[in-house]
């Protein structure tokens, strides 16, 4: 019965997503997502951060439909650059370079692009139904969560982010604490006291998530690209013969199925999302293949599985946000920011209080994926042309968008200076090989964590053991402790280093 209700709701969502205005914003999001996915050095995180201020002027449905389109659209576009240029268009397409570019060098760029796009569409559609069926029961469980469970769940999510970060564990942990520390700047919700604002009025509301995200991920990237100055080489010649042959189809459909399943599940995990899914799917394919040596030499499964997985993972990573109110990765954290700008608190109440937003967003993914198939396959030539625009004309425009975006959030020049500061910090962290993703996630989770921590203590009359006497909370904390333990074991550490 419940399944039927949910499918009915999905139908209702389709009606909302098909409203002309929402359809246009969905298309805009998908186009933009493809664009930034194709362009190296500009990922969904930057694009969403840039558009966050503009989304303020839209309805909440249109805003989230567009921002979501950017996230999963980027998964489509990213594969194009990986295959044709051997530079990942964005992070979740890193592994696609391995076999995708080899296929392109063998003159099979067309089938590689087609497999990536078809796999993504399939995964996207399956993931949409997965969300429609899975999110409502999860929201019901979330309603039973008290503040103590939320604290434990967020701790687990943050530890996961450390596990999944690239490079040194110690650095990732330090970034996490730095993010939490930065999130405490501003007015304390409980006492109303100004914390560490140094008398600056603009800091009373805390440091904005947009200057931090754009500084750490956008500005630092631009500076680093200017330092390198490496010319890009696009695989020359036209992309011909898009259609994969029978052999390709036979090899890749089981890979697409596995990638979709893996991506859908990994997207749900705290710390999960598109990037984790694509890496895991590639490793899995290589493990179960009868002939692992084909991987890295143009194996079609090596394109199909991760590309399906990253799209599925991108979409299902909305589930923790919409049901628990906890963003699982940095990109979803910005989505949480977008919801909060519109006065909607992410969490289990979204489904009951804003059903139009909830179901409209999910249904828009169905439409968006079909749009993306058209945007990416027949029109692939246009995107390839875009890759030939020299970077020197390009980066000033990115800076312009970032500056205007940051400025218009609060009409304050101070935010632009914050952007400069975090641009510098981001550049230094890049130089020092510190991955800033845990920082951003911790920054967004920080206030929610602190509020729930204080509330849990208040409810239990200052009993510090409340986190371990409630069973669900205890279970989550044990899981987090196990992860920490696993992290320091040398053998796991080595495997982790090999994976990233």
């Amino acid at each position: 019965m419940e399944i039927l209700t949910n499918l009915g709701n999905l139908g209702h969502g389709l009606a909302i997503a098909f409203e002309f205005k929402n359809l246009m914003y969905c298309l805009a999001g998908c186009l933009l997502g493809t664009l930034i996915g194709v362009l190296p050095g500009l990922g969904p995180l930057n694009a969403i951060a840039m558009l966050l201020p503009i989304s303020f002027h839209l309805t909440p449905e249109a805003a989230l439909i567009m921002l979501a389109g950017i996230y999963y659209g980027a998964q489509f576009g990213g594969s194009t650059t990986s295959i044709l240029v051997n530079t990942p268009g964005e992070m979740a397409s890193v592994v696609t370079c391995l076999d995708g570019h080899k296929m392109a060098l063998q003159g099979r760029a067309g089938p590689a692009l087609a497999v990536a796009a078809l796999g993504s569409v399939f995964a996207g559609i399956v993931a949409t139904f997965f969300i429609a069926l899975f999110a409502p029961p999860m929201a019901k469980i979330a309603l039973m969560f008290g503040p103590a469970e939320y604290v434990s769940l967020m701790i687990l999510g943050l530890i996961m982010a450390v596990v999944l970060a690239q490079g040194s564990v110690l650095k990732a942990l330090a970034m996490l604490v730095l993010g939490l520390l930065l999130s405490t700047v501003g007015t304390d919700v409980i006492s109303g006291a100004y914390r560490m604002t140094m008398g600056v009025r603009s800091l009373a509301d805390g440091i904005g998530v947009v200057p931090i995200a754009m500084g750490l991920f956008g500005m630092s990237e631009i500076i680093a690209n200017l330092e390198k100055q490496e010319p890009m080489t696009v695989v020359s010649g036209k992309v011909e013969g898009l259609w994969p042959n029978g052999e390709d189809f036979r090899r890749c459909w089981p890979a697409v199925l596995r990638g979709t399943a893996l991506g859908s599940v990994l997207g749900l995990l705290p710390g999960g999302g598109a990037m984790l899914s694509s890496f895991a799917a590639y490793v899995l394919e290589k493990k179960i293949s009868k002939d692992p040596s084909r991987f890295g030499n143009g194996a079609v499964e090596g394109v199909a599985a991760p590309e399906s997985a990253n799209n599925a993972g991108a979409q299902t990573s909305f589930v923790p946000l919409l049901t628990l109110g906890i963003p699982s990765n940095a990109i979803i954290a910005l989505m949480a920011g977008a919801m909060m700008i519109h006065g909607i608190t992410p969490g289990p109440s979204v489904m009951t209080q804003n059903p139009n937003l909830f179901w409209g967003l999910i249904a828009s993914m169905l439409i968006g994926n079909l749009m993306l198939l058209v945007i990416n396959l027949p029109l692939v030539g246009i995107w390839v042309k875009l890759l030939q625009i020299p970077y020197r004309l390009f980066y000033p425009l990115i800076l312009v968008f970032m500056c205007i975006g940051v400025y218009t959030i609060g009409n304050s020049g101070f935010d632009v200076f914050l952007l400069v500061i975090f641009g510098l910090v981001g550049y230094l962290l890049l130089k020092w090989q510190c991955e800033p993703a845990p920082l951003l996630l911790a920054f967004v989770l920080g206030p929610i964590l602190e509020q729930n921590y204080t509330r849990a203590l208040q409810v239990s009359l200052n009993d510090p053991y409340v986190f371990i006497t409630r069973p669900i909370s205890l279970g989550l904390l044990i899981l987090a402790a196990l992860l920490m333990l696993v992290l320091v074991l040398p053998s796991i550490r080595r495997a982790r280093e090999a994976a990233f």
């Binding site: 952007l419 641009g423 962290l429």
Partner: protein, 154 residues
């Protein structure tokens, strides 16, 4: 490079310790405990303490482990000019308006790239200003002054 300390870890550690000390000093006047539970100062102080520990651990690790690869070269020009261009925008947008702020932003940021060509840069700046004025002011209706406010033109 034998004998080379792992500078990136040491620098990260020192940076984090400095940030933590600043935060601790700023959070010093805030109370950690109130009669209803933890006070506003508790989290900042606890976190900066933790950050000092992590920073110290990174410094220790950096001193112990030898760096496997030589550090990448640092170039001042891109950093200074890209950051400078954004700072220029921040300093001018409120009183000098969009035209001045954006022109400066594009010109300064283009100078960050040694391959920049003058004519191309000027064209880019002009195009950007027109494009931004149409998209952001006319299209999206954002409240940004176009010309210097002290001139009284709108």
């Amino acid at each position: 490079m034998a004998g080379q300390r792992n500078l990136s870890e040491i620098f990260t550690g020192v940076f984090l310790i400095l940030v933590a000390i600043c935060a601790f000093v700023l959070a010093w006047p805030l109370s950690s405990r109130t009669d209803i539970g933890v006070g506003p100062g508790f989290m900042p102080k606890a976190l900066s303490g933790l950050l000092v520990l992590l920073g110290a651990a990174l410094v220790a690790q950096g001193l112990r482990i030898q760096s496997p690869q030589a550090s990448q070269p640092w170039r001042l020009r891109p950093v200074a000019l890209v950051l400078g261009s954004v700072a220029f925008f921040g300093a001018t947008i409120e009183s000098f308006g969009l035209v001045v702020a954006l022109t400066g932003l594009v010109l300064i940021s283009c100078a960050a790239n040694p391959e920049a060509r003058l004519r191309e840069t000027l064209a880019l700046a002009a195009g950007t200003v027109v494009f931004a004025a149409i998209l952001f002011l006319k299209g999206l209706g954002l409240q940004i002054p176009l010309w210097p406010t002290f001139l009284g033109v709108h």
